[in-house]
């Protein structure tokens, strides 16, 4: 079980939890920020990996959750990732 603070919005929290299932790391921001809740880091745990910012109070939480999901699905570092395209 992951021991991190939960995001108060259920749509965002569900997306974060699903990303963790797929090997992403979720980091809470150090503090002092009114709007940046934290960051999601892709399984490529280096500087070259994907970083996605998570807001605490996005204008539309459902849209924000959809954006996060899009970046998880589109991560170019995942295994068997096809950078080209099958004709």
């Amino acid at each position: 079980m992951v021991s991190r603070p939960r995001h108060t919005n259920p749509h965002v929290e569900a997306t974060l939890a699903a990303a963790e299932e797929r090997g992403w790391r979720v980091e809470k921001a150090a503090g002092g920020h009114a709007h940046v809740w934290g960051r999601m880091l892709c399984p490529q745990a280096t500087r070259e990996g994907c970083i996605v910012f998570v807001h605490s109070t996005p204008r539309n939480p459902q849209s924000h959750a959809r954006h996060l999901q899009k970046r998880v699905d589109g991560c170019p570092h995942q295994e068997n990732c096809d950078q080209g395209e099958v004709p």
Partner: protein, 188 residues
């Protein structure tokens, strides 16, 4: 001119930033406060994206107001382009117009439709070809394959990207290189 109804709807688009290769939490906070609270920042391979879902009366208004907000944040970043490439694969054409790749392939070969589909521009890889979206879009609407509203926003994205590019080229410090090449090519 007939006045359009001014009802708002949500437009999804992604902006690619220039001038920054990473994003600090402070910069993300500043973008949020400057009006990008409907955008999700991400960084991949040293490139910063802002994924927007913005309420506006048109796609153009949505994108231009987002560019204004990014500039207003004043974090040393500007908008390079909307994340819509003018060079597209056959599958991408299919996705954009909500059809199958098989359907588009039939348009390309002339098995379906009036024929004379725009020729491809170049190869992406040895086996994958790229078409210019603007040419394909024009052909699709001219031949009533898709309704104009299906490609309207994508065409607007292409125009905004062209304008952003021209503005960048205007600031390019060494235009002489291409000027020389243009003269050489014209003289052949």
């Amino acid at each position: 001119m007939k006045e359009k109804p001014m009802s708002e709807r949500e437009y999804d688009f992604s902006l690619i930033l220039s001038g920054v290769t990473e994003l600090t939490e402070d910069q993300a906070e500043t973008l949020f406060e400057a009006g990008c609270d409907d955008a999700t920042p991400s960084v991949i391979y040293g490139r910063v994206w802002l994924e927007f879902s913005r309420m506006a009366t048109s796609y153009k208004d949505a994108v231009l107001s987002a560019i204004r907000d990014v500039r207003r944040a004043n974090i040393g970043a500007d908008v390079e382009r909307i994340d819509e490439c003018n060079l597209v694969t056959l599958s991408e054409i299919a996705r954009k117009i909500g059809k199958t790749p098989q359907y588009v392939h039939q348009l390309v070969t002339g098995v379906r439709g009036p024929g004379r589909f725009p020729p491809p521009e170049c190869h992406l890889t040895d086996t994958v070809l790229l078409w210019a979206w603007c040419a394909v879009s024009f052909w699709l609407t001219e031949n009533n394959i898709v309704r104009p509203e299906v490609v309207e926003d994508l065409d607007t994205a292409y125009l905004i990207n062209s304008a952003l590019e021209e503005l960048r080229e205007g600031r390019c410090p060494q235009p002489t290189v291409t000027e020389h090449l243009k003269k050489e090519l014209a003289a052949l």
